[in-house]
């Protein structure tokens, strides 16, 4: 069998397997990085399932491979081993058909575009112009509390403002799968609570599948249907916790006993990660 045939066969098999499922499925993914000194295993044999329309948080110690996992799902990193299947598509297909929205851990704004133009970017490239069902940029600006700063350039913004612009940018084209890497990390609690609420509202109304990296146990417990707890060195699944709090959730749910219990459990697991 020639190399070309092998590749074709592999692709065909993957597509066949993919067509059958309606979820985002990460199967036995391993990612290693070659450095000059050593080979680092960022993720080792990680498998997880993200049902369609679910809200999943990734929780784990710094360096456990959360960002790397999001990058594998979004086709920015090729896994050394294992496969990813997004509702029947490969990451490459999902990416090129604009299924994925990504809020990076760093805001990654384009310095030469002002706030509004940064938010509009997804509608201007990669076939974004044909997305008719997009959000209203001015609504989004209001949502993230940046009305009146449309014309500001990134270097004129505070750290939290930049992060909010990045959030608005990811929301503009209403992606089917939303990968968020600590999107609210640089925000004060009030703004964060507000955006948590808004995110839940958006999630419920659009049916987006959300994979959400956070360091806040409370945030994970409040937002998610399931929390995947990752352990580090190498990155692997420690435990998957399903959060059974009622939907739609109000901020007040955080004062409930169930919530406190869930959070305490997550904390206990994290402590051994």
């Amino acid at each position: 069998m020639t190399a070309a045939t092998a590749t074709a066969t592999a692709a065909a098999t993957a597509t066949a397997a993919a067509a059958a499922i309606d979820e985002l499925r990460v199967s036995d993914v391993t990612v290693t990085f070659d450095t000059n000194r050593a080979t680092i295993t960022a993720i080792a044999g990680l498998s997880a399932v993200f049902p369609a329309g679910s809200f999943t948080s990734l929780l784990g110690p710094s360096g456990c491979g959360k960002s790397t996992l999001l990058r594998v799902i979004s086709d920015l990193v090729q896994p050394t081993k294992g496969t990813v299947n997004l509702f029947g598509q490969s990451p490459h297909e999902a990416r090129t058909t604009r299924k994925i929205g990504f809020v990076f851990q760093d805001a990654t704004l384009l310095p030469w575009r002002n706030v509004l133009d940064n938010i509009l970017l997804p509608l201007q490239v990669g076939g974004g112009a044909s997305i008719t069902d997009h959000a209203d940029p001015h609504e989004l600006l209001k949502l993230v509390g940046l009305e009146g700063r449309e014309m500001a350039f990134p270097h004129e913004l505070s750290g939290g403002m930049r992060q909010r612009v990045a959030i608005a940018r990811a929301l503009i084209c209403k992606p089917k799968i939303l990968l968020m890497d600590e999107p609210f990390g640089a925000l004060d609690e009030i703004t964060r609570d507000h955006l948590n609420g808004e995110l839940l509202r958006i999630w419920q109304t659009t049916g987006t599948t959300i994979v959400f990296v956070t360091h806040s146990i409370a945030e994970a417990a409040f937002l998610s249907e399931q929390v995947i707890l990752l352990a580090a060195n190498p990155g692997r699944v420690q435990e998957i916790v399903t959060i059974d709090l009622p939907q739609p959730r109000e901020l007040s749910v955080r004062d409930s006993m169930e919530f406190t219990n869930v959070a305490a459990h997550l904390r206990r697991v994290l402590e051994v990660c």
Binding site: S74, D75, L76, R95, T96, T97, R98, I100, G101, F102, F104, D106, T108, L110, P111, W112, R113, L121, P122, Q124, V125, G126, G127, G128, F153, H155
Partner: protein, 272 residues
């Protein structure tokens, strides 16, 4: 204010008269340098009574300028035309090639050696061939001016287009942006410092190229005047012509610098 400090990196608003004053003062610095140079040249040539046909004193050059400026002016226009056209052509081709390399990496490996060859060929050696191929009109001069602008811009552009921040590139990948979109939205901006550096280099090169090309087959232009003045040992006029060429170069350089200042507006000034 107690906090008088030289490290104001972002100068806040409000009255800052000292800054404006400083700026106004600096306006004369470039001229000051030249003035000092001219005075030194005058003193040296006078003190050692260096003959005018070896190195003319600034006063001799000035005298030659006064009596010949209509001539120099007449011959300036063809050179300006050739240099500016060559500047536009050479830089455009370099930019287009560098852009092509972004789409087709093998092209870079294939073309780069040839570009170096083109850069190494002494223009004077191939100028006659160019004249045969393109005649002794403007075309051959523009071609030579373009050729000397070409390589530095190509090298800088190739680097500049690849100097984009990797995170921005990944952002574009997630958005499934085409190469063209990444190019126009990211790389085009990232390469601007490299491009403007290259254009500043090309500003002078274009005039050199046009002048050298005029040596080979021309009846007009500053290059022709240089040959004529050299041949007739009119050293003061030769220096006037070189001065004219320098002033033209400096002008084109300044235009590029101004364009850069007008275009790259989003960056906070690094005032260190």
């Amino acid at each position: 204010m107690a906090t008088i400090s030289p490290v104001a990196t972002r100068r806040p608003a409000g009255p800052a008269p000292s800054r404006k004053r400083r700026h106004g003062g600096h306006r004369f610095v470039p001229i000051a340098g030249i003035v000092v140079l001219v005075i030194v040249a005058q003193i040296v040539t006078t003190a050692f009574s260096i003959p005018v046909y070896i190195f003319p004193a600034p006063t001799d050059v000035f005298g030659a300028l006064i009596s010949n400026y209509p001539l120099v002016l007449t011959h300036m226009w063809p050179t300006i035309f050739e240099a500016v056209m060559g500047f536009l052509l050479g830089n455009s081709v370099a930019i287009l090639l560098a852009v092509t390399f972004m789409y087709w990496r093998s092209a870079e490996r294939m073309v780069m050696p040839m570009a170096i060859i083109a850069h190494t060929i002494p223009v004077v050696a191939i100028a006659p061939v160019l004249v045969i191929m393109m005649g002794s009109g403007y075309t051959s001069k523009i071609a030579v001016a373009a050729l000397v602008c070409f390589f530095p811009t190509l090298v800088n552009m190739v680097k500049g287009l690849r100097s984009a921040d990797r995170q921005s590139i990944e952002l574009m990948q997630v958005l499934s942006a085409s190469k063209t979109e990444t190019l126009t939205n990211i790389r085009a901006y990232a390469c601007l410092p490299f491009l403007f550096s290259a254009l500043k280099i090309a500003a002078g090169s274009a005039f050199i190229g046009a002048i050298i090309a005029e040596w080979i087959g021309s009846q007009q232009g500053l290059g022709y005047l240089i040959i004529q003045t050299t041949y007739s040992y009119d050293t003061p006029l030769l220096y006037v012509v070189m001065l004219a060429a320098s002033i033209l170069s400096i002008s084109l350089f300044s235009i590029v610098a101004t364009a850069e200042r007008l275009i790259v507006r989003w960056k906070p000034a690094e005032d260190s």
